[in-house]
Amino acid sequence: MRPLTAKKIAWICGGLSLLLFAAVVLSLKLGAYPIATSDVVMTLVRRAIGHTEQIPTDFRLVIFELRLPRIALGILVGAALSVSGAGFQALLRNPLADPYVLGVSSGAALGAILSLVWAPHVPLAMQGAAFAGAALTITAVYFLGRRGGQLDSTTLLLAGIITASFLSAVIVFLMTTLSGRDLRGMAFWLMGDLASAPPIHLGFLFLVLVLAIGAIYSTAADLNLILTGEQEARHLGVNVGRVKIVVYVAASLLTGLAVSVSGAIGYVGLLVPHVMRMLFGTDHRIVIPTSALGGALAVVLADMLARTVIAPTELPVGAMTAVAGAPVFIYLLRRRLR
């Protein structure tokens, strides 16, 4: 196997970025409101050179107020979920791990439900409560998952799964006893919803995203060693405990961030890191950046399909990622086995 060089990483990431850019442009063009490609280009150019007043109101509304924020949210959520999935798969040394395996999404869902019950009219209450629920779950699972003062992969996994099923039971209990009027949004939320983007400055969310991905990336070389065995890594001078905490906190933060703005979008966090490993090898220095770009690409494309296949009726983006993701994954898996 040829060694992984910085140049190679740059080339692969550059290629994926170009693909992502193409997907964004295509996504800007397609939708229930028909806009010609030339109009999309003209609008973007006018915006870029500062002639916003020449853009027709409808184009501005549809492109800059509806599609662009939604695409940006898709990039954010896709990158966050995929990197977090890659992080958890390495941390728990379990190929089945995904961002939701440790109960973060259940905690966020519980927070969201409680906000719908107690503060249905407060702006941002749902996102805030979802994030608080995720953060509390992360903390609880962290303390449950320690053994001898250290994070233990098996204990952590079990603690996460138990917490997740406990919280799911609480959610089921609440949903059957509470008045249904305000819980209507929940079904959509649980399947993932990018349509009603929260009124948060996306720039802030992207800052958090970049910091958390950076934190996980900084441990990439150590994660490679840990995968060969914790003892071996320790002998080679890796501070295993610190790496685990960094990955755990950063990956959980990414999941909490994604879940609180878009609900639980499934499969992306599980599938994308595996696909990237199949395509580019298992070295975390390449898996983590490509997962970020690949995850963004996957969610942007899935949402584009969700918006357009039976337009103007929209499908939940979570259903789209599952329907489109599973066959791609199976194809790659079989090809590799051949």
Binding site: V62, R67, S179, D193, P199, P312
Partner: protein, 348 residues
């Protein structure tokens, strides 16, 4: 000093991150400016939101089937430029451009129709949809139907909002009279203890605070289920304990109600129910759960099925038997259902 520096760096980072994202209010203001200046006024909708709407409303988009029906009943269908995939009554409503489902309409499809006003309802739409449209600078008026009388009031308000003319008042007055007549007719009879069937498997009924529970009260029935939720799943034991006098179904056509009953009555426990043994069932149009004028038809129909003895035509001298029977015929909606039933049987 160092803390000061750190704070400055953080502030700088934050500014960088936020660059290029103008605050939503500024964007909304810019959008308002771009539209041709229309005369507007401020109203409060039924959920307590302050909404700025144009004084003259030419283009309406409805994102709920009951509001589409109401617009047609108000005679304002020419101004209805879009509705949802679910808007199936009156049949012409299906021909209007659709903006997607009521729960997740495509926001850009709504914007593309350039509405002066979007009508939404808490009965089916999501708050997230209303808020998203609001942020786009689209005027959204939301209704909040909780009682039958509230719906009539809501009709008048909507008519005033869109400038519907006299039609709404006349219609509302007529519906009000029919409700008053119904109440007078049912006055002597105790309400029937009814079990409303929402779903057969698992068995789901209605809570006391639903719109349906109020509709049932108007039809001379009391929903027997006492639950906190709006759509409680009720156990068989509870059904046996409640021992309802009637089972009530609201379905698109009579056949659907019949088949649900057939499914229920063979189940253990249900077989022994008094209402099942005596076949005390009432099947009415699903308009019963649509907060729109047609619900009054469904309520009257339900009252007739639950209190048949009160609707016996009194023998009037000088009238032929045939005429009296004609009078006892159920209203339009029921005939329509039966027609559909026959049609379905023939075609299968």
């Amino acid at each position: 000093m160092r803390r000061e520096q750190r704070r400055r760096i953080f502030a700088g980072l934050a500014v960088l991150a936020l660059a290029g994202f103008a605050p939503p209010r500024a964007r909304a203001a810019a959008m308002q400016g771009a539209r041709p200046a229309l005369e507007t006024r401020e109203v409060t909708d039924e959920t307590g939101r302050r909404v700025t709407v144009p004084v003259v409303i030419r283009r309406i988009v409805s994102i709920a089937p009951n509001l589409t029906e109401t617009i047609y009943a108000l005679g304002a269908q020419d101004r209805l430029v879009g509705d949802t995939d679910y808007c199936d009554y009156p049949p012409e409503a299906k021909q209007k451009p659709h903006v997607g489902g009521a729960l997740n309409p495509s926001l850009e499809a709504v914007v593309a129709l350039k509405p002066d006003l979007v009508l939404a309802t808490t009965a089916i739409n999501r708050r997230a949809t209303v808020e998203a449209l609001e942020r786009l600078g689209v005027a959204v008026y939301a209704t909040d139907p909780r009682t039958v009388e509230g719906v009539l009031q809501s009709m008048r308000t909507l008519s005033a909002l869109i400038g519907g003319g006299q039609q709404a008042d006349a219609l509302a007055a007529q519906l009000q009279t029919r409700l008053a007549d119904l109440r007078a007719r049912l006055a002597g009879d105790p309400p029937r203890r009814a079990l409303f069937v929402v779903w057969v498997d698992p068995f789901i009924s209605i809570g006391p605070r639903t719109f349906l529970a109020d509709a049932l009260r108007w039809a001379g029935a009391e929903s027997v289920v006492r639950a906190r939720g709006d759509w409680p799943q009720v156990s068989l034991e509870e059904v046996v304990r409640l021992d309802p006098e009637y089972l009530v179904f609201a379905e698109a056509d009579r056949a659907a109600g019949e088949s649900e009953f057939e499914e229920l009555k063979v189940r253990p426990g249900w077989r022994a129910l008094r209402a099942v043994k005596e076949r005390h069932i009432a099947i009415v149009s699903d308009a019963l759960d649509r907060p729109a004028p047609r619900m009054i038809d469904a309520i009257e129909e339900l009252a007739k099925q639950l209190h048949p003895e009160l609707f016996q035509p009194k023998a009037v001298a000088g009238r032929s038997k045939r005429e009296t029977r004609e009078e006892a015929m159920p209203p339009r909606i029921f005939r329509f259902s039966r027609f559909k039933f026959r049609y379905l049987r023939n075609s299968s």
